[in-house]
Symmetry: C2
Subunit: 506 residues, 2 copies
């Protein structure tokens, strides 16, 4: 067997270990009984340690060298050249992190997630504080092991978004904020008046859980999610995971008193799921079987959730179906009123329920807080206060409880420091990609208005999904002809959509 074949066989074993660990993680959030948490933490620790040990084995370095030599003039974008290139990048990262640190992190984050869940239920940040302290300490240990030129946040950020730096991010976010603040101010309800309670609020009516579930499944089917190769379950904090392109698990959380939580949450996770299901079968059981980056992954969840799922064309088709699915609920509401309600801009407490315009301010808050926590400028004990002050400063509102504030997101309990900014990067990319989609499929808006998504899904599969991790975000954008990453297409989209909705020039 040649070096490349040996390498692939070794990597397939690691992919299987990682898939098993991912299933343990999925089960932990969906079905696992609470008493199992200690045993599960031990199991996850073992699998993470074995995967890390197998991947950082010196054999891999040798096989990578031999495989590189044997590649000859294989094109940059060939599967084999990409496999060797991306695996080497991963391997260089991984060999810098001691197996022991990987194991301790898996254990701390497994316990941390359980503690976070309980702390959120009780709305007591202090029950989670020690876990966060430990997770930050492990994150610093990891950043030091990986090394960095400028900022300790850099090596954590690039785990999720290769090629991006903290300083670059601060620049892009600064620009975006400068243009976004006047837009949000122009669209927000006047501060000194009470909220407009006389306006119809169709989304706050009571929609029964089973009806929401069924409607969500129908939308997923229409989008093209393949239930022969995936499923949807319930979890406290929606997420998507995959154990193969043929086994993609999305999760959702339905609230009977707030339709958007389940409805748009389902479309969002479905976008992630479509990406995973679209990865070429040739890449199965290799390090290329995944999304290019978290930003690119998020661009797809936001594209399906928002650019499609919150568009006027979409509801022109689906609003009559929604009315029929919930008889007697929406008879007094026109599609235009519903569309406006689904796109209300109003500062709010919960990120996952925020409108798309204020959403990026939620992200900026988290990015700045986790950066300060990591760099030591902010103590964990002071985090709730800093959170509330940040909310006040960016959005003009403050949470009454930790559950609605600092405890609302699962990410820190998972040790995912450096993850949040990718949400905003995803938003920016989704608008850039959608501009190209409309150029290549001139009838795109008509397709959406007819509930036909096949051509669009095919385009995304061809241009993004099938490539898995072969290319970076920048490479993908360039290959699609989107140009460099830019906030302009997104700001243009926001100005156009909300200028029209609000009857104002933005």
């Amino acid at each position: 067997m040649n070096a490349l074949a040996q390498l692939k066989e070794h990597l397939a074993t690691i992919a299987d270990l990682d898939a098993a660990a991912a299933l343990l993680g999925w089960d932990q959030e969906t079905y696992m009984p609470p008493g199992a948490i200690e045993a599960r933490a031990a199991q996850l620790t073992t699998l993470a340690r074995m995967s890390h040990e197998a991947f950082t084995d010196e054999t891999v370095g040798r096989l990578l060298d031999e495989a590189t030599a044997s590649l000859g003039d294989a094109p940059y974008d060939s599967d084999d050249a990409s496999l060797v290139r991306v695996t080497r990048r991963d391997w260089q990262r991984a060999t810098k992190i001691p197996a022991d640190l990987v194991g301790r992190t898996a254990r701390a984050t497994s316990l941390g997630q359980q503690a976070w869940q309980k702390a959120r239920e009780a709305s007591r940040f202090e029950d989670f504080a020690a876990h966060l302290e430990e997770i930050l300490s492990l994150s610093r240990e990891k950043a030091e092991a990986l090394g960095y030129d400028e900022r300790i946040y850099d090596p954590l950020l690039t785990e999720f978004e290769p090629g991006m730096s903290t300083t670059q991010l601060e620049t892009i976010f600064g620009d975006l904020r400068e243009q976004l603040v006047p837009i949000v101010e122009a669209l927000s309800p006047p501060k000194r008046t009470a909220p407009a309670h006389h306006a119809p609020r169709p989304l706050d009516r009571r929609f029964d859980e089973q009806g929401q579930w069924d409607f969500g499944i129908k939308l997923m089917e229409d989008f093209g999610f393949d239930f022969e190769r995936g499923r949807q379950d319930r979890s406290a904090h929606p997420f998507t995971t995959a154990f193969a392109a043929t086994d993609v698990r999305v999760t959702t959380r339905i609230r009977e008193d707030f339709l958007p939580a389940g409805l748009f949450g389902t479309l969002h996770e479905c976008g992630h799921g479509l990406y995973e299901q679209g990865i070429a079968s040739e890449l199965a059981r290799t390090p290329l079987a995944g999304g290019a980056s978290l930003g690119v992954h998020e661009s797809q969840s936001r594209l399906w959730e928002i650019l499609v799922g919150r568009s006027r064309e979409f509801w022109g088709h689906y609003y009559p179906l929604l009315c029929r699915a919930f008889p007697g609920k929406l008879g007094d509401i026109t599609v235009d009123v519903f569309y406006a309600a689904a796109n209300t801009v109003c500062p709010s407490l919960i990120r996952v329920e925020a409108d798309e315009v204020t959403y990026n301010l939620h992200i900026m808050l988290r990015f700045e807080l986790e950066k300060d926590l990591l760099e030591g400028g902010l103590a964990v004990a002071d985090l709730p206060e800093a959170w509330n002050a940040g909310m006040k400063s960016y959005l003009g509102i403050e949470p009454d409880t930790d559950a609605d504030g600092v405890l609302q997101d699962i990410h820190w309990s998972m040790g995912a420091i450096g993850y949040f900014p990718t949400y905003t990067l995803g938003n920016l990319m989704s608008a850039q990609i959608f501009v190209r989609l409309r150029e290549d499929i001139p009838a795109l808006q008509e397709h959406i208005g007819a509930g036909r998504f096949g051509e669009m899904l095919g385009w995304l599969q061809d241009n993004i999904y099938r490539h898995g991790r072969k290319f970076t975000a920048n490479e993908l954008l360039e290959r699609m002809g989107c140009g460099e990453l830019s906030a302009e297409p997104w700001l243009e989209y926001i100005r156009s959509k909300y200028g029209e909705l609000g009857g104002v020039a933005l």
Copy 2:
């Protein structure tokens, strides 16, 4: 770290790998989308191979030797002495089986299970035949690798029931059959008359699925199943698995048109689950964390399902609750009629729905067929015919379809050759153990009649469950004062119960 501590650490890693594989297996039967079967087979193959490689590593042999030397005069029944003793037994078995064979078997049985499920749905044995051929071939390969003095079936049987031989089994089964046949004949409906359609058939009425589910959960709670450390889900073929004593998964299959399938199936799997939940926490993540043997495990499922759950005392308490759970369903049926219906003796096609008297004839058929298949006296292609002929000969009836015949059980598709006889061994042991239980808890029948199971569960935990795999079946029976394994207590119980029910001397 001394040799024993090193051994324990190494074994804990293996236990975690096995737990992950068990979760993958559970998921495959409960939630996994069908398209994932190939990916799941690869994952299970990898985990089985890694576990096998780690366990058969020569380090384990060396550590076992050193640990044995360091044990000194640790008592036979101490955790440490038992750990070393049982691990050595397992290790000697495992080192004889090549890692490659383990991997091929995991893959063949994963695909085999999927094929069996589809073949059963279509009732086409020929769709499963090639898989069974492959599984038998791998089983023979395994038996040859393990070695045997007399019969090729021996080394497969002892995987599930250490210390038992094919010849011994033939003797016990021969004795049992000799006494059982006249009992079944005396209790069966007359052959030349039509079935007694005028008799009330309370169990065939329609009981809605959710009501059955809820009633089953209530019974499990009363028995003492801890839902903080376990859960119940649905599967096509009910089974119980555990990833820790704190994470025990039972599954059930509910049929709205046949109450016993879900009701007694739930009690049966609950018995398995109580065993797993009762294993001492000191044995966690060691090879001792499991049931003593399949026979002992089955003795507990049958004890809770039948000796408790089909007794007159039990229904004296629970029948009024069942009536209340299904309003208007059972108003015309007295508890005695219901009790008689729940204990009707009548030859039938499906093993898992068979009454306890004819049940062992189902087992004898499977034991003889799998023995003949393995030894080469029966060809796979001839199996459906042999099955039907056996059913005719033992029970006087023949299935119309393969689904109701040779395809009804999952076991062969899992590669579990040598497994079936343990069902009958479990029945025999359950009666032996119940005799001892009644001696130690004189008020046992009153407890059951009051829906109080705490003292009984405590006795079983102390005498059986907490020991995990420390002792063999024979050792456990002896420690409990049950004497040697014998069919007499079971036959005595059958004669007494059914003599009274049928008004005949047996």
